[in-house]
Symmetry: C2
C-alpha cells in the first residue's frame, strides 16, 4: 500500500523531471515568483497548520529549542518567500557548456550542465527547509520529493501544497514538488531504495538521521553536516587576531556545524595566550575543557577527557589542547576532525601553506573564522547543505551542486576504426 503510493510518487516525479529538464529559465523564475507570492497570500492557512504541530509538540514534551525550530510566524513565512525570490534572481546553471573541444577526427565533444533529475530530501524539524529545498530544486530543473520530520508534518504539508499549486499555475508539472504524505517510517525506507526513480538523496539534520540514510540508502547520498571543527594558533600567530577569530568561531553561533569545537595552541605561545583565552571565554559564558598543560598554566580550568576531542558540542563548550608544533596539530585534526572546516592562525608563510595542503577537510582557512563555511558567505548565492563527503560536492552546496553534466557530441558521420 505505502509501496504503491511511493512508487506512484516516484513515477510522477520522474515524469515531471523530464519536462523540467527542458523548462526555460524564464518559466522556472516565474514559478518561483508565484510560489513566493502564494506563501505570503496563504500565510494564515500555513500558520494554522503550524499551530496544530506546535500543540502536538507541546503535548509530546518537545524541548523549547525544538519548539522554536518548529514555530512559524508571519515574519518567518515572509523570509521563506524572500528566499524564493532570491533564488529566482540567481543565474540558472542549467545549460552552461562546461567545456567543448574538437578531437583530431573532427568530433566536437562538449559537456553541458543538466539537472540531476529527481532529488529526495529527508529532513527534520524546521519547516522552512520545505520551501528552501523546493525552490533550489525547481531553479535547477529537478523534481523534488520531500520527507520532513513528523513533528512538522502539518506545516510541511501546508507549505508544500501551496508551493505545488503555485508552481502548477505557472505551468510546472504537479510532480515537480511532492511531499511524502504519511509519517510512517516505512515510506522513508522505500524512498531510500527507489533507485529507478530517485537520482540523489540529501539528508539534512542531526548525525542520527544522516547515519540512518547512509546506512540504508541504495540511492546515491550526499552526506551533509557533522562538523568537529578546529582552530590552531601557531607560534607565529598575531595573538589579538587569534583571540578574535577564536571567540567568533566558538561564540557567534555555537549551535551550527561550522562553529569551532576544539582549539589547538602552540606551546611557545600557550603561557601568554591561554590566560587571555580563559578570561575572554569566561566573559562569553564558554566552558573550557583543557589538557594537562593548560591546567598547569590556568589551574582552575576543567580537565578535558578523550571524548571531548571527538565531540561536536554545538554548545558553549570548548576543548583546548597545547601542542608541540604544526605537525602535532595537523595530526590531531586529521585524527579527530570530521573533515568540515579547519583553521590556522599564523603569520608564517610556509606553515600556512603546509596547513592548507596537509589538512584534509572541505574548507581550510588561514587567519579567518571557521564560521565562514557557508554557501552565502562563499558567494554561491544559496545553500542546500554542506557536504562532508568527497564525491560530487564538498563543502557548501549551491545551485551548481544540484546539477550533473552530460556529454554532447557533434559529428559529421564519424565511425570508430
Amino acid at each position: 500500500m505505502i509501496q504503491a503510493r511511493m512508487e506512484q510518487m516516484g513515477r510522477k516525479a520522474k515524469e515531471a523531471a523530464r519536462l523540467l529538464m527542458l523548462a526555460s529559465t524564464e518559466q522556472k523564475n516565474r514559478a518561483l515568483q508565484q510560489m513566493a507570492g502564494a506563501l505570503v497570500a496563504e500565510a494564515e492557512a500555513i500558520l494554522e497548520a503550524n499551530r496544530s504541530d506546535m500543540e502536538e509538540g507541546r503535548r509530546k514534551g518537545l524541548t523549547s529549542t525544538l519548539l522554536d525550530r518548529l514555530m512559524l510566524s508571519k515574519k518567518r513565512i515572509e523570509e521563506m518567500a524572500e528566499g524564493l525570490m532570491a533564488v529566482a534572481a540567481l543565474p540558472d546553471p542549467v545549460g552552461e557548456v562546461v567545456e567543448m573541444y574538437r578531437r583530431p577526427n573532427g568530433l566536437e565533444v562538449g559537456r553541458v550542465r543538466v539537472p540531476l533529475g529527481v532529488v529526495g530530501i529527508i529532513y527534520e524539524a524546521r519547516p522552512n527547509v520545505t520551501a528552501d529545498a523546493a525552490g533550489l530544486c525547481l531553479k535547477t530543473g529537478n523534481a523534488i520529493i520531500l520527507r520532513g520530520g513528523s513533528e512538522a508534518f502539518n506545516s510541511n504539508r501546508a507549505i508544500a501544497g501551496v508551493l505545488a499549486r503555485a508552481a502548477a499555475e505557472a505551468g510546472i508539472h504537479e510532480g515537480a514538488i511532492q511531499l511524502v504524505d504519511t509519517t510512517d517510517r516505512e515510506a522513508a525506507n522505500i524512498l531510500m531504495r527507489m533507485n529507478q526513480y530517485v537520482d540523489v538523496l540529501i539528508p539534512r539534520g542531526g548525525a542520527g538521521l544522516i547515519q540512518t540514510v547512509v546506512n540504508n540508502a541504495t540511492v546515491p547520498v550526499i552526506e551533509t553536516g557533522v562538523g568537529n571543527c578546529h582552530t590552531y594558533v601557531d607560534e607565529d600567530a598575531d595573538l589579538d587576531m587569534a583571540l578574535e577569530i577564536t571567540v567568533n568561531a566558538k561564540c557567534q553561533r555555537p549551535s551550527v556545524c561550522n562553529a569551532m569545537e576544539s582549539l589547538l595552541v602552540h606551546e611557545a605561545v600557550a603561557a601568554e595566550f591561554l590566560p587571555r583565552l580563559s578570561r575572554v571565554m569566561g566573559d562569553q559564558g564558554v566552558e573550557i575543557r583543557g589538557c594537562e598543560r593548560y591546567r598547569e598554566i590556568v589551574p582552575d580550568v576543567k580537565a578535558a577527557v578523550e571524548a571531548d576531542w571527538e565531540t561536536e558540542f554545538l554548545d558553549l563548550i570548548l576543548a583546548v589542547k597545547v601542542v608541540k608544533d604544526l605537525d602535532a596539530a595537523m595530526e590531531h585534526i586529521n585524527r579527530y576532525g570530521s573533515g568540515h572546516s579547519e583553521a590556522i592562525v599564523t603569520s608564517n608563510y610556509e606553515r600556512a601553506r603546509r596547513f592548507l595542503s596537509g589538512v584534509d577537510a572541505a574548507a581550510v582557512f588561514v587567519n579567518a573564522s571557521t564560521r565562514f563555511t557557508d554557501g552565502f558567505q562563499f558567494g554561491l548565492g544559496a545553500e542546500i547543505g554542506i557536504s562532508t563527503q568527497k564525491l560530487h560536492a564538498r563543502g557548501p552546496m549551491g545551485l551548481k551542486e544540484l546539477t550533473s553534466t552530460k556529454y554532447i557530441i557533434y559529428g559529421s558521420g564519424q565511425v570508430r576504426r
Copy 2:
C-alpha cells in the same frame, strides 16, 4: 578475523593516502615508471601465477570467452606496462586551482583539486584491471584497495605484489596499493561498508556485480557500465551515413557497453532503409529482431518481443523499431535506455538540437557512432570506467574524476558578524 584483516588494510590505506596526498607529481611518475619496469622484469612470475588460474578455470569449466579475458601473455603484460607509462605522461590533476575569487570582506576563496583518498575497486575476470586501476589511482594520489574476481586471484596477487613493491622502492607507502588477499565473499561485504576508511567504491564488471555493490554498499559508489544504447535514423538522415554509423555501432565491438543494441527508424525512410540494413547486417552476421512494421517491409526478419527493447545483448543481435517521429524515438529511448550513449542521424538542425537536449543520457551524439563513448576517444587520456549515474561523474571517467576538491580560504583576520 576477516573483519580485523580488512580493518588493518583500511587503516594502512588511510595512512598511505595521507602521504600520497602530499606526494609530488615527480615522485608519483617515478613510481609509475618503476611499476611499469617491474611488470616486464617479473613477467615470468606473473605468467606462472596466471597459468595456475587458467588451469583452475579450465577445471571449473569457464567459457572460452572468460578464459580469454583471464589469460595473460608476455604481450598483455607489456601492454599493462605501456599503460602505466602512458599514465605517467599525463598531466597531474592534483593541485589544480579550479577557481579563486575575492569576497567583499577581503577573504580569498579558492577551490583546489585534491585526491579522493582511498578508492576501492571491485572487479571481475580481467587481471589487467589490477594494473590499470592501480596506476590511475597512484597518479591521482589515491590509495587503492583492489578486490578482484576469484578466477583471477593468483594473477591479481602476483601483479599487485609486483606493483606495490616497485612503488615502495620509489618511496610510496606500502598501503598505497593493496589487494584483498582472500576470495571469501565476506571480505567484499566488509569493504563495501568500511565508511571510515574508504571514500569511494567503483565496481567494474557485469550488471550482477554492479547491482550487488549498489545494494550493499554504504560507502559512496560510482555506478558504471550497463549500456542499452540506441541510434535513431531520422527522416532527414543521410542514409549512407546512417548505415555506416549503424554498422559501426553494432559490429565494431559488440561485446562492450557503448555498442548499439536497438535501432529506431523514422517511418518515412523505413521502406528505403530497412532492406539495405537487412542486407548489410546479414553480411556482418547480425541477427535482426524487427517490429511488426519492419516485418511488413522485410518479411523474413525475426519478430522482436518486448524483452528485446530492454536487453543489453552484447552480441551480434540488433532490435529494430519503426517509429512515427522524433518524439516517439525519444520516448522509447528515455523509457528503455540505460542512460549510457544515444545517437541521432539527421541533417535537420532543429531535430538535432531537440535530441541533444531531450535525451537524458551520459553521452548524446549527432551523426556519430555510440562507440566513441570512451575516455581515450574523448581525449581524457585514460579511463577508469564509464559512469551511468549522475552524481560526481557522468560518462567516461579519467584522472579528474578520481579527484575531489577542497575549499582553501586566505584571510587576514576576518570574523563573521
